[in-house]
């Protein structure tokens, strides 16, 4: 794997100047490599991971199981892409098992999410059924624990 990607995945939140130091490159080269990763669509973008419970941001999230009739020639892809384009959709996955697509949706209120499901999602031709589950509480987001305060390190400062 590209050393820059490895460093990003370690999640240290380093600046490009710091990454340049670690990788023994100059900062311009790090920026060039980041641009290249974006061009290659390997690096899609940056999103902050927020603790929305603490922020009280008024975001309602739901997971929707969607069953669809695949199309001859296109399979599930055209439907999946069409559904994914809605702004309300955070993520969309093709699944094995009892349903076809798993769709993560968010909205500013329960009504808005419900309206999206009933008016947009379920009316798409080929959608056989939807089952919507509202998220009640989040414990871990993108690898970050939400309710565990990071403790001051209890490591001794000098050990043999």
């Amino acid at each position: 794997m590209n050393p820059l990607i490895k460093l990003l995945l370690e999640g240290g939140g380093l600046s490009t100047a710091q990454m340049a130091q670690v990788l023994n490159l100059n900062e311009a080269e790090v920026n060039r490599q980041l641009d290249q990763l974006k061009k290659d669509r390997l690096l899609l973008g940056w999103r902050p991971v927020l603790n929305l419970a603490d922020e009280d941001a008024g975001v309602v999230r739901a997971v929707i199981e969607v069953r669809i009739t695949p199309e001859r020639g296109g399979g599930f892809n055209r439907f999946a892409e069409r559904i994914s384009r809605f702004d309300e959709v955070e993520s969309c996955y093709l699944m094995s098992g009892g349903y076809d697509l798993l769709v993560f949706v968010n909205g500013t209120s329960l009504q808005k999410v419900a309206a999206f499901v009933s008016e947009k999602l379920s009316t798409i031709e080929g959608v056989l059924s939807t089952a919507t589950h509202f998220l009640l509480r989040s414990y871990k987001e993108q690898g970050f624990l939400l309710d565990v305060k990071s403790e001051e390190s209890s490591r001794l400062k000098v050990t043999p």
Partner: protein, 391 residues
């Protein structure tokens, strides 16, 4: 009343660890970036911690066999056979101990008669010399040198050897130098041990943290298993320092002798730690490899920075320590370390804490986050530049 007169003479005469003095100074300071910590910065992987919690829930709170849980000894055998190429009978050739430290202590107590000579390479872990003294053995240090990347050479062994030498203590890769030996060097050491009829105590606690060339255990060489006690543990590879869990593998008669001391002093290692250790061996390899990769990148960074700063530093092939020379600053390593701490709040351990021929060097542990390493390197650079300007 003068209570000190009750203290045994050999303990009175035992010098205090040089690290302890340094620790006293560092612990009183705020905002210190410490490169003086001899342990992983990672917490123990959760699946290992969770296995120990589950063991507690199941009521696993009792003594174990003196030798340790048989499931753990079986897992140790499979792990050692796979990774070190040498096999031990779980029934009588493996002893679970409270870290390698206890294994080492009981090995010395079981093997050393007063006056027996014990060879060990230096600079080395702080406890080797005192442990030999505590068992009334005679310590015979063998120097390793920066020019050899701190590998132990058979020539140095031959030069240091004295009549009456009985044991050779190895620690490869080595704390504090990160030095280790390649196969040819280990073979030469093994040949020397056979010639001089030495028993080997091999502390291989950093073996999983060998970055290039692979690790060769002396126990795996022809004819060496019968004259080697292989010591290993979970602290470094699995980030389990506080669990205090390790093991010794060797010929049944020697393990039995160590077990006698162990059963009267320690009885057994903590069952909770043993349960965690089983989990580490069965499912901890991926986590361990990921930590090793991260250490390697940090090593490459900090060693490059030391050399850029002008503190000449060899590339340690193993462990998570860099051992740069501070000779260029014109200061003794203790003065350099104290000056750096006071001026820039960066802690490195003076090399002389690890034996006389660690003089001129400092130990920097790179098991810490990149942001801290980057900042520490910048501060060290600033300090070295200021020292140069003064001269």
């Amino acid at each position: 009343m003068d209570t000190t007169r009750f203290i045994a003479r050999h303990v009175v005469n035992l010098p205090k660890s040089g690290i302890r003095d340094f620790f006293e100074v560092v612990s009183k300071m705020q905002d210190v970036i410490s490169l003086g910590i001899g342990e992983p910065d990672f917490d123990t992987p959760w699946h290992i911690r969770e296995a120990a919690i589950y063991a507690l829930e199941k009521g696993r709170t009792h003594y174990t066999s003196n030798l340790g849980l048989i499931e753990l000894r079986r897992a140790i055998n499979r792990y050692v056979e796979k990774n070190f190429g040498v096999s031990y009978r779980p029934e009588d050739e493996i002893l679970v101990t409270v870290g390698v430290s206890e294994a080492l202590d009981i090995a010395f107590r079981a093997l050393v008669n007063p006056g027996d000579k014990v060879m060990f390479h230096q600079p080395c872990y702080v406890s080797y010399h005192p442990s030999i003294t505590l068992t009334h053995g005679v310590a015979v240090p063998v120097p390793t040198y920066a020019k050899d990347n701190f590998a132990l050479t058979a020539a140095a062994l031959a030069a240091a050897w004295q009549p009456g030498s009985k044991l050779l203590m190895l620690n490869l890769p080595c704390n504090p130098t990160g030095g280790t030996c390649d196969r040819a060097q280990i073979e030469a050491i093994a040949k020397f041990c056979v010639e001089k009829d030495l028993l080997v105590l091999s502390d291989e606690i950093y073996s999983e943290l060998t970055f290039e060339g692979g690790h060769v255990s002396i126990a795996s060489l022809p004819g060496m298993q019968e004259r080697t006690i292989f010591l290993h543990g979970f602290s470094k590879a699995f980030a389990m320092t506080g669990w205090r869990i390790g093991y010794a593998c060797g010929p049944a008669a020697l393990i039995e002798a160590m077990m006698k001391v162990h059963q009267y002093s320690m009885m057994c290692a903590s069952i909770i730690s043993q349960e965690g250790a089983i989990e580490a061996l069965l499912r901890g390899e991926d986590g361990m490899k990921s930590m090793r990769e991260q250490y390697q990148r940090r090593r490459d960074f900090i060693v490059r920075r030391f050399n850029e700063i002008g503190l000449k530093c060899h590339l340690p092939r193993g462990s998570f320590y860099a051992f740069p020379s501070v000779e260029k600053t014109g200061l003794k390593e203790t003065d350099f370390a104290v000056g750096l701490l006071q001026a820039e709040h960066v802690a490195m351990v003076p090399g002389s804490a690890f034996g006389a021929n660690g003089a001129g060097f400092c130990r920097a542990c790179f098991a810490t986050g990149y942001d801290q390493l980057i900042e520490a390197a910048d501060r060290i650079e600033r300090h070295v530049q200021k020292l140069a300007a003064k001269r």
